[in-house]
Symmetry: C2
């Protein structure tokens, strides 16, 4: 099986009909664990698929989100980033280099009594500051 076929099957298993665009987008987000924006995805893939449109990137990401393949994070205020890591985790963004680090800790372990009786569907957390390597410069 080619790599493309493997990815195609992954998508099928998650209930997504695999078009070329969807496979390439899926491949991109899996290989670039950088929490890309729609723009990052578009600019990278338009070289390979010259007719690709931004609308397709957005459509696909919305579909992936619905199907539980990605989730969105909003650290920078006005630009959505996509994260293929669906385990409960958080982020740290360095103000200097912009890198977004994943943090393993699960927010749900905080056990917040104010939420008793509430139904919690999503939890998000993130820090901002300077990362180690930027401090050491």
């Amino acid at each position: 099986m080619t790599n493309s076929e493997i990815l195609s099957n992954h998508l099928k298993n998650q209930g997504v009909k695999p078009s070329i665009q969807r496979i390439k987008i899926y491949e991109f987000i899996r290989n670039h664990a950088i929490h890309p924006t729609a723009d990052d995805i578009y600019n990278h893939l338009v070289k390979e698929i010259p007719t690709l449109s931004v609308a397709t990137v957005y459509n696909t990401m919305h579909l992936f989100e619905q199907k539980g393949i990605v989730r969105t994070i909003s650290i920078d205020n006005h630009q959505t980033r996509f994260d293929w890591n669906m385990t409960p985790h958080g982020h740290f963004q360095c103000k200097v280099c912009g890198t977004i680090y994943d943090l393993e800790a699960n927010l749900n372990q905080m056990n917040i009594s104010e939420l008793d009786g509430f139904q919690v569907d999503e939890s998000h957390y993130y820090f901002k500051g300077l990362c180690k390597s930027c401090i050491n410069k």
Copy 2:
């Protein structure tokens, strides 16, 4: 001292020259602990100050942020909300009624070892789901 004079002094103490616009905006965010958007602030105050412009609201909020009077939160993706409560705390937003609840717990108590050697300047967390009163309907 009138209420307006008290607020004016608050601003002075924080290093902000108190104009009418700034005092009214400050008053609004203190009396409406609803994490308002720039638009909420503008729409409410333009009735009182007909010449108010959105630019002034944004300018003022940026200034307040710089001076440590408010901070911004981004729960809804593309609309910044302002929070005058500067103690470390988090939020819960109900998907049905939209209400944003404050949560007292301080994220820093999580003590995340992956951040050893990092400088943490800001920490944010929030949950989404259904609030108690919407569940009981």
